[in-house]
Symmetry: C2
Subunit: 303 residues, 2 copies
């Protein structure tokens, strides 16, 4: 099963109450690709990097079975950089610095050999670029989209255009309230699903996630972790695990969607245990299945 992921690649400087990590490989597509790579062996990545994106970074992606032919290398510039500091409670963060660099004029070109990819995941980028990507994919099976406040407020019309072509929309609770204009998540979900996406996932951070489909609502718990070292990339990692399980099962019914949400949650729970992609890039399949089982136990009721 082939997956196409389009999004940012970046270097992050991250500061949390537990320490700091500089020049950490990050970016939405990096987390999505690494996370989905445990479920699926054909991962095609499209993004842009600068001259500072070295062989070792490409090697890390290749070792996870990720195809990087779609990554444009702009030798004249530097890779997108983000720097942020998390507060004591880990739920809020301040962006200290953002340098778009080569990402500023990212023009996603989908290589011909990627155009028959069946599962498309559009990471958090300009909705106009997300439309450009979809225009290059004649006939995808499933389109998953992520976005953020910045685009909801800055490019609402383009976002609504792309949402009409999306199957699964992944968003967090504050973004859902912002996009729908309604503080109630159930009402927000109805409003947002009417914009196009049949399937909506609202992430609630440490409180889990809600899945809205025609079949109803599924509430996934968050894994009660004793220590969270770095929440960076958790949302993208969730998307990658979700996408990965769906592609692996190649089913899109309610039962598989629910499992996919739990796999996404399981992957995200690993992501936050170390800085950046450190934990995510070095998992065993058995660990993932164990964590998935822990998620099942977390809400198991003997009927």
């Amino acid at each position: 099963m082939s997956i196409l992921i389009v999004g940012s690649l970046a270097f992050d400087d991250i500061e949390t109450p537990f320490g700091r990590s500089d020049d950490t490989l990050g970016g939405s597509s990096t987390y999505i690709a690494l996370s989905s790579s445990y479920f699926c062996d054909e991962i095609n990545l499209v993004g842009v990097v600068g001259s500072d994106f070295g062989k070792d970074h490409f090697r890390l992606l290749h070792e996870s079975g990720i195809d990087t032919k779609g990554i444009q290398v702009k030798d004249t510039g530097k890779t997108f950089r983000w720097s942020g500091r998390y507060h004591y409670d880990m739920n809020t963060r301040d962006t200290l610095d953002t340098q778009l660099n080569v990402f500023a004029d990212f023009d996603p070109h989908i290589p011909s050999q990627y155009r028959d990819s069946r599962y498309i995941c559009l990471g958090n980028i300009d909705p106009e670029l997300q439309i450009k990507v979809l225009d290059q994919i004649p006939n995808p099976d499933l389109v998953i989209l992520d976005t953020m406040n910045f685009w909801i407020e800055g490019k609402p019309e383009a976002l609504k255009k792309v949402l009409e072509r999306v199957d699964v929309f992944i968003i967090n609770d504050s973004e859902a309230r912002l996009l729908s204009g309604d503080p109630n998540l159930v009402k927000s979900a109805r409003i947002i699903r009417n914009l196009g996406p049949k399937t909506l996932i609202i992430k609630k951070g440490e409180h889990g996630a809600l899945l809205f489909t025609d079949s109803g609502i599924f509430a996934a718990p968050a894994f009660p972790l004793e220590s969270i070292y770095d929440p960076t990339g958790a949302g993208d990692t969730f998307a990658g695990g979700f996408l990965g399980h769906l592609a692996r099962s190649d089913e899109q019914n309610d039962a598989e969607l629910r499992k996919a949400v739990l796999y996404g949650s399981a992957m995200a729970s690993f992501c936050v245990e170390k800085f950046g992609t450190e934990k995510l890039a070095n998992l065993e399949l058995l660990e993932i299945e164990d964590r998935y089982q822990s998620f099942l136990d977390l809400s198991r009721i003997e009927e």
Copy 2:
């Protein structure tokens, strides 16, 4: 199965974005008793009221099968009054006025015919009074305790004394962090369970509840409601449903504790649908089982 409930009876003036309700029957023991009355037919209530607590209020309790012989009536004073206003998001509220009235010198006397009650629920009152109650009950099967920030900060020593004698402690997330001094709920739970209660429930409002036992952690979702009219009493209603199911099943193993958390959640989800006890006092058993089933569906995974 006999249940003894000790706590406040009150009249509330409640203001929410959806309207206001004055002189509404409230108080922790009222909500706990009404909620548990659907599960158990021997509910003994101990509290204090003033001359303004009329026949119709007693009738409402009697019609729910609640024994009120333990309610002291102080003709010289008025019933405890609370007045509060909820914010737009319904998660925060301002207390506008509190008049303790006869509740100020409440001295809980447990009638002799109540002293063999097997399930004891101590509502949110002064921990010194909670100790006084336990001293009058020779040999209870299960003691459930609720408290609040006010007592955690004001009477930590008395609270710790009573916790040593408690089986199930029900608290919300901010109170758990305050009592434990740790922002992480998993660590908080370990610290608090070391104070005595084998079973700890941490309520997270619209995000559900966590149950901590020797067998592990259970994460109960909150019911995704479209409209919440009045959160007043939801926590006590949760305790009542939890208590009620445990008393009904007369089992305290992990499986029944998990179900009890869902029944508590189901009852709380009804409570918030109308002002005060209006909905809670007028439920059908079938509605409760339907809501419980909805909670099961909410986190069901086909394995």
